[in-house]
Structure formats: structure tokens, C-alpha cells
């Protein structure tokens, strides 16, 4: 068998191919905001927003729990840190500069979409900046939490990351009340401001910048990065650690470095998701955002979708967000049915919906034809 060498693409065309998905991402996000949002009711629009944020969380956690096979249970901690950091930046900057905390976004911001506004404003710039800073702060913490992962495995790492989430929650609870008058904000020093994020009462007053544009821009960028990592030599290095760490190390994979990298990248996107979450209309950012219940939600999505499957994480994020809504009609039994559905899926698809694969991989659907032809008898031959 000979391997024909494809013609080497020119610099321009390969740059276009490299950046094109990001351009498409912006296009998709604009469509979500300008076309979809005005044509659906506020309630489904809010669900779309929740789905988007959950997608970012699930896909980012997939990089840690799925790709490298480390069991992190503190993902909400990164989210909360990102949410508080970016919320504090937009709120206090707005108070200092404009004397008021409300959003000053353009058409692409918020859930309402104003008439006659410019597409993007200075306020949007501030929001984007705060999101990135929130992501970077969370990534920094991801580095610190990733370090013990070098020595700890399995359950022990799970406990450490669980503890991390709780530490974040308790630390946030100890903070001082939010400064609500422009006078107070101007008098406080830059170093004092981050301590005034509301304590256990929650951080209220954060401007509502989050809309479908920003959320789906975040979703698309997260997806592009996750897919490109997974299908690159780095993604294979991540997956090798999950499969067999000793063999990965012996084959020259710097397992230490990549385990920490997985934490850092995942924490960055969780921080962005937190920033999007904290700037959403009708969401009270409270220390509970860092709680383990929130982390469990994300873990459920990742496990349900299949550890390591990006499209699985997306599908599971959609299901887990919508299932409780669909079941609203049978309110009393809602949580029972929800739990039952999860248990059944795990019994019949113990590796999650798609395993480590993606929806479009043919092998993902092999079990269907196997079931048809072998009536379950060959199911055992899969081992």
C-alpha cells in the first residue's frame, strides 16, 4: 500500500482553514442572537442559554474526566471563581466609570436586544475582557488543583477536587457585602473590591450582559478547541494517559505535564462559563454555585454522554437541561423519573451514550446492528 502525499496547501489556504471555524462560530452566535432570539419566547430562550452554558461546562470537564481519565469533582469551583472574578470586574468597573452597575451592551448583548443600539459597545468590550480574566483566574486555580493530581489517582483525586469546590464555596461565603453606592466604590481601593462580593447573600447587581450571542460564541469556541485537541497529537497523548498511564509514560508522553494541562484548559473554559452564568438575567450568583451539587450535574452530563466523547457531552448537556423541563407536567414524580432515566441509561449504555467516540463515528452505532443480529448473545463477546 502506498501513501500518496497530498499537495502541500499554501500558507494562505491553510491559515483560512485554521481560522475559518472561528469565523463560522461568530456567524452562528450572531444568528442565535439576531434571528433565533427574537423569534422564540423568553422561556425557551432561557433554556437555550442554560443549554449553552451547560455545554461549555460539560465539554470542558470532558477534557479532564474524559480525555485524561482523572476524576475531578470540583468543576463548579472553577465555574464559581470565574463567575465571581468576571462579575466583580464588570460590576465595579461600571460603578467606577459610569457610576451605575447596569449593563451597557449593544445588540449582541443581553437577552432582550435593544432597538437602535450599536452592535458592540464599550460595555461589551468590558464584558469580554472580564470573561477572559475570569477564565484565566480559574485556569490559575486549575494549575494549583492539577498539581496534586500528579500524586493522587482515582478516588483520592476526586476527594481533593471535591474539597477544592467546598473551599471555594466557604471562602466566598466569608466575603463582605457588595458595595452598592458609587461613592463607596470610588473610595475603596482596587485590592478591597474583590472582597466585597456579597458573602453568603450572593453577588447581586452584576450587569446582565449574557445573551445567546456570547453564550453560543463560548460554546463554539469551546467545541473547536476541544475537537482540535482531541484529534491532534496532544489529544491522543491525553487519551493515552487515561488508557494506561505507565505505558503512556514509557512511550514518551510527559504524563505529568499533560495531566496539569488538562486541568488548566478545562478550568479556563469553566471560568468562562461561570462568567456567562453570573451575567445572566434572573440568576443570583451565590456561593452555592461552587457547591458539589453543581459539580455533580456536570459529572452526570460527562458520564452520560460517554467519558471522552465531546458530542456525547453536548447531547447529555441538552438532555440533562431539558429532561426536568419535559417532566414538569408530572411534577411530583419528576426527580424520580429523572433519576430512573439516568439509571436505565447507565445499565444499557454503561460507557455512556457514545463511549469515547463521537456521534458520527460508525463504530458508535455498531452495537445497534450487533443487537439486531445477535439478540444479545454476542453482547458478552465485546469484552
Amino acid at each position: 500500500m502506498s501513501h500518496e502525499t497530498p499537495p502541500t496547501p499554501g500558507l494562505v489556504s491553510s491559515l483560512v482553514r485554521g481560522y475559518m471555524p472561528f469565523v463560522v462560530a461568530v456567524g452562528v452566535a450572531i444568528v442565535m442572537q439576531v434571528v433565533v432570539r427574537p423569534n422564540v419566547d423568553p422561556y425557551p430562550a432561557k433554556l437555550l442559554l442554560d443549554i449553552g452554558i451547560n455545554c461549555i461546562l460539560a465539554v470542558s470537564l470532558t477534557m479532564v474526566n474524559g480525555f485524561t481519565g482523572q476524576f475531578s469533582m470540583g468543576h463548579a469551583g472553577f465555574m464559581a471563581v470565574g463567575g465571581y472574578a468576571s462579575g466583580a470586574i464588570t460590576y465595579y468597573t461600571s460603578m467606577r466609570v459610569w457610576g451605575a452597575g447596569e449593563a451597557r451592551g449593544g445588540v449582541l448583548s443581553g437577552m432582550l436586544g435593544g432597538e437602535g443600539l450599536p452592535w458592540l459597545t464599550v460595555g461589551d468590550g468590558l464584558f469580554l475582557f472580564s470573561l477572559i480574566v475570569g477564565g484565566v483566574v480559574a485556569a490559575g486555580l486549575g494549575y494549583l488543583v492539577g498539581l496534586p493530581s500528579l500524586r493522587l489517582k482515582g478516588d483520592y483525586l476526586a476527594i481533593v477536587t471535591l474539597g477544592f469546590g467546598e473551599i471555594v464555596r466557604v471562602v466566598i461565603q466569608q466575603t463582605s457585602p457588595v458595595l452598592t453606592s458609587a461613592e463607596e466604590v470610588r473610595q475603596a481601593t482596587i485590592l478591597q473590591l474583590p472582597t466585597h462580593v456579597g458573602g453568603s447573600l450572593g453577588f447581586s447587581g452584576i450587569p446582565y450582559y449574557t445573551g445567546l450571542f456570547w453564550v453560543y460564541l463560548g460554546v463554539c469556541v469551546t467545541l473547536i478547541v476541544a475537537f482540535r485537541l482531541k484529534t491532534s497529537t496532544f489529544g491522543r497523548a491525553f487519551l493515552s494517559i487515561r488508557n494506561d498511564e505507565i505505558a503512556a509514560e514509557a512511550m514518551g508522553v510527559n504524563t505529568t505535564r499533560y495531566k496539569v494541562w488538562a486541568f488548566v484548559i478545562a478550568a479556563f473554559f469553566a471560568g468562562i462559563a461561570g462568567g456567562l452564568f453570573s451575567h445572566t438575567l434572573g440568576v443570583g450568583l451565590s456561593p452555592e454555585a461552587a457547591g458539589f451539587l453543581r459539580s455533580f450535574d456536570v459529572i452526570i452530563m460527562v458520564v452520560l454522554g460517554g467519558l471522552g466523547s465531546i458530542s456525547g457531552a453536548v447531547a447529555a448537556a441538552i438532555i440533562v437541561t431539558l429532561l426536568p423541563e419535559w417532566l414538569r407536567g408530572v411534577a411530583e414524580y419528576r426527580m424520580i423519573i429523572y433519576a430512573l432515566a439516568l439509571i436505565l441509561i447507565m445499565i444499557f449504555r454503561p460507557k455512556g451514550l457514545f463511549g469515547v467516540r463521537e456521534v458520527w463515528d460508525r463504530a458508535t452505532w455498531a452495537w445497534l446492528s450487533r443487537r439486531k443480529s445477535g439478540t444479545g448473545a454476542r453482547g458478552g463477546a465485546r469484552e
Binding site: L11, F234, D244, A250, G252
Partner: protein, 255 residues
Amino acid sequence: MSEAILQARGVSKSFGGLRAVSEFSLSLPARGLHGLIGPNGAGKTTVFNLLTGVYHPSEGEISLAGESLLGLKPHKRAAAGLARTFQNIRLFAELSVLDNVRIACHLRTTHSMGSAILRLPKHRREERAIVRRSMELLEVFDLAGRASEDARNLPYGDQRRLEIARALATEPKCLLLDEPAAGMNPQEKVDLRKLIHQIRERFGVAILLIEHDMGVVMNLCERITVLNFGQTIAAGTPEHVQSDPKVIEAYLGTE
């Protein structure tokens, strides 16, 4: 004889009070074929783990192509040119045959993670080179037809060969094979002997192998080291080792 590629001098390792390996020495020339034999529990795999950096020796010196390996982690030793297979096969079971080999190509890549995320030309070029090289290796091992299958679905003999292919993908100077013939039938053992010769000719690597099968070891290896209870009880050519009374005693016992 040419310069030694892999050299170990007076390497010892104790686990608590147990001296698992004592004063182990080895000088493996370029393209050499060296066997490491001994009864169960003699410390052969411990020697492998010491050489590849899974354990660090209590005493002694290990060097590859003149560079000391002491204190280096396994992945750095792989980068230095030391590759291995495992006694109990350790493939990346859930990944495809091709991916198993591609992962081993990772350490020779030079582009950054950012370059992979932005799909910069350098990333594309290196990814193409990885696929080309991996498929070449799979063809040598007659596995190219199964490139897209999951590694765990391969028959046992293919898994053993895939592990060798994967080790070679790291572009080693020296290859350590831990019981490559384990679980093989007589015909497969004959094929394996041919294959190991081929590997040495084609890839120019030095090979150190642990093996229980005397037929394989005696026919294949130029020199043999015999371990028992962590001690080197004999070293030399196959003929020399076979007639050594200590070796006979270790294997057959005395009256």
C-alpha cells in the same frame, strides 16, 4: 566490538530489606542482541524497570549512548532513545491500532498545543508525517489492514507485535522486550525470531530481551545474562551460559 549503547554498572535496588537486584552490570553494543534470563522472581523485570526509569536504583550507574539516565523520568528516557514492551501487554486498549502507534510518535513532534488548536501549517505537516510513519511501521508488522480496529480486539499475537511497533515508533536506539514470546505457539515463536532479526537490521536498534523460552533465547541472543535472586550468576555467550554449573543448578536444582 563497537561502543556500548546501553550501559549499566553495579546497579542495585532494594525494596525495604529485600535486595531485588544486586550489582547488575550490562554492556549492550549498538545493534547487539542480549538476553536476560532467570527463574521466576529473579529480578528480570525489576532490571527493566530500573533501566526505563519506573524505579530508581539505590546504587549504580545507567547510561545510554554515553549520557547518564539516572534521575530521568521514563518519558525522558524514551526521548533519549530507550523503548520497551511490557510482560503483561499494555496497549492503549480503547484506542485504534493506528492511534497506539501515533501516540508513540508524539515525543518527536515539535509543534505547540496552540499550533494544534489553530491548525497551523506546522501542525498539519507533523500530523501527516506521523500518519505516514505509523502506517509504514504497521506495514512492517503486517498490521496495516487492521489500523482502524480497537487495539483490544486484536488477537494476542498481533497485540504483542503492535506493542513492538509502538515501541519502535518512538525512534529508539535501544529496544527492551519483556517476554515477547510469552503465550505464543511454536510456529509463532519461529516467526518472532525472524521478526526480531528483521527489526534489528531494519531499524538498527540494539535489543535487550527477557525470555523464558530457551529455544528463543539461545538461538537469538549473542550474549546472555542469567539472574537468580537478584544476583548475576553468569554472563556470556549462549554456549558458555548453558554449560555453567551455577545456571544448571538455578534451573534444575542440585541433588
